[in-house]
């Protein structure tokens, strides 16, 4: 296929010389929403961090829009349009919502349109525009993390467990916002252990188990798989 935006090929990564992600290959095409599902410690975050440059992979290759990303610094990867939202959010706690959003557009000064676009997706952020990010509720922080990433005008948005720390209701709300973004044509790769949420959103998915891709298919195929149902859907 030629319209693949992200091609991860035989990626290995880990800590202190010991791999926890082994030989992972996956692709994301432009306009697609792809989920990586797996339980605690299966290596989702490790894999995503080595895609976005926060962690140096120990092997394999990552190509974004035809460009090899191995060895490229995280800030360069972000500027090239691959924007990562970590589960820990990494907001700037002593800055206002507005300033956090401004920084998302770095190095340019964002236009009113850009801000307006994010405020349309997350009206709550507009109400809280002057509030310090460190004092926001968990749900609001998640909105801000995604909003800040949107300010960059990403070609690929990578989300690590957007449901982290959210109540079931707030987690569904967060995913509802993602459905809206998906309708606007945003390309998304999302890691999640709340499997029903992720499969509702995504076109396709990969199941990661102990650092390896165990299974892949469309969301409905995965949802119908007995193994997935037993392990993640509590059926």
């Amino acid at each position: 296929m030629t319209d693949e935006l992200l091609i991860v090929d035989s990626l290995s990564a880990g800590y202190l010389g010991e791999d926890v992600v082994h030989d992972v290959s996956l692709t994301v095409a432009a306009g697609e929403v792809v989920a990586v599902i797996g339980s605690n410690g299966s290596g989702k975050s490790t894999m995503l961090q080595s895609v976005c440059g926060l962690l140096a992979p120990s092997g394999g290759s990552v190509r974004f829009d035809g460009v090899e990303l191995a060895g490229v610094k995280a800030h360069r990867i972000a500027r090239s349009g691959l924007v990562y939202v970590p589960a820990e959010r990494h907001l700037f706690p002593h800055m206002s919502v507005r300033e956090n959003l401004f920084l998302g557009a770095y190095p340019t000064r964002p236009s009113a349109d850009q801000l307006g676009m994010v405020y349309r997706v997350f009206p709550r952020l507009e109400e809280r525009t002057g509030q310090l990010a460190g004092t926001l509720s968990g749900g609001e922080q998640q909105m801000l993390a995604v909003g800040r990433a949107l300010m960059a005008g990403p070609r690929l948005l990578i989300l690590d467990e957007p449901s982290t720390g959210l109540s079931p209701i707030l987690a569904s709300e967060a995913y509802a916002a993602l459905v809206e973004l998906r309708r606007d044509g945003l390309t998304v790769l999302v890691a999640e252990q709340q499997v029903p949420l992720a499969l509702d959103l995504a076109d396709r998915g990969y199941v990661l188990d102990r650092g390896r891709i165990e299974l892949t298919g469309t969301s409905s195929q995965l949802a119908a798989d007995e193994g997935v149902q037993r392990a993640y859907l509590g059926v």
Binding site: H75, L91, F92, H94, L103, Y106, A152
Partner: protein, 284 residues
Amino acid sequence: MTAVALDGIVLGLQFGILGVGLTLVYGLGGIVNLAHGQMAVLAAIVTARLIDSGSPAVVAAFVGVVAVSVLGVVLDLTLMRPVYRQQGEHRVLLGLLLMLGVGFVIDGLLEWRYPIEALSLRFQGDPIPVLGVAMRRGSLVASAISVAAGGVLVMLLRWTTFGRATRSVIQDETGARLCGINPAAVRTVVFGVSGALAGLVAITVAMTRPVVSTDGVNLTTFGLIVAVVGGLGSVPGAFLAGIILGVVNTISAFYIGSYVSTILLLLAAATTLLLRPRGLLGIG
């Protein structure tokens, strides 16, 4: 009393700029610049040499400030490289030791080459009354420069894209990288700014009293106390702490004696930290 307080504010503004230079570099990369005062003195000595050889004072001071600013950039790009590769405590300790070494080297060079050099910048004209106190022109110019430098710095940090990027690296370096900000580049620029601020302190101090080649250690010590009391990494905190400690120092020096005043200064610093472990306006 008013006269002493005003003198305290003059000194406090200088302390503030001294502390800001230290606090920015620490906040960004965990480097405790124990050569900060020595860099300031270096600017003073460069300025004094240039004036000796016939340069106009303004040009000489400008060159002196730029010279230490460049030194800051060079240090960041060379000696600090292996430091930034370390994390946490290791980084702080290695940075501290290397900058201590830089301080020794500068002190040694100055003592060897220019043992009796001093910078004194005098202003012609009568004292000007402020709140009924006759203030020397040097003190007023020094304070105006400090206030202007501080004001410009705060505005740059608050309202420019680069200033915002600088604060973002202090608050969450990973977050900054994910926004496309290169922390290494920010650190290099800010180390240069910090060097310039150190130079500026030496120039303003020279307007109120002679700066001699052995003043480095004292300036480093005062700067460190100010930065810690203000909360390492906090620019407004450093200004606030600088002014408070400048006033404390001047008042106690006037009524008790200058030796005791340094002890009182440390006591004030220790008390602040006991009450507020992260400093007056400490972050994170």
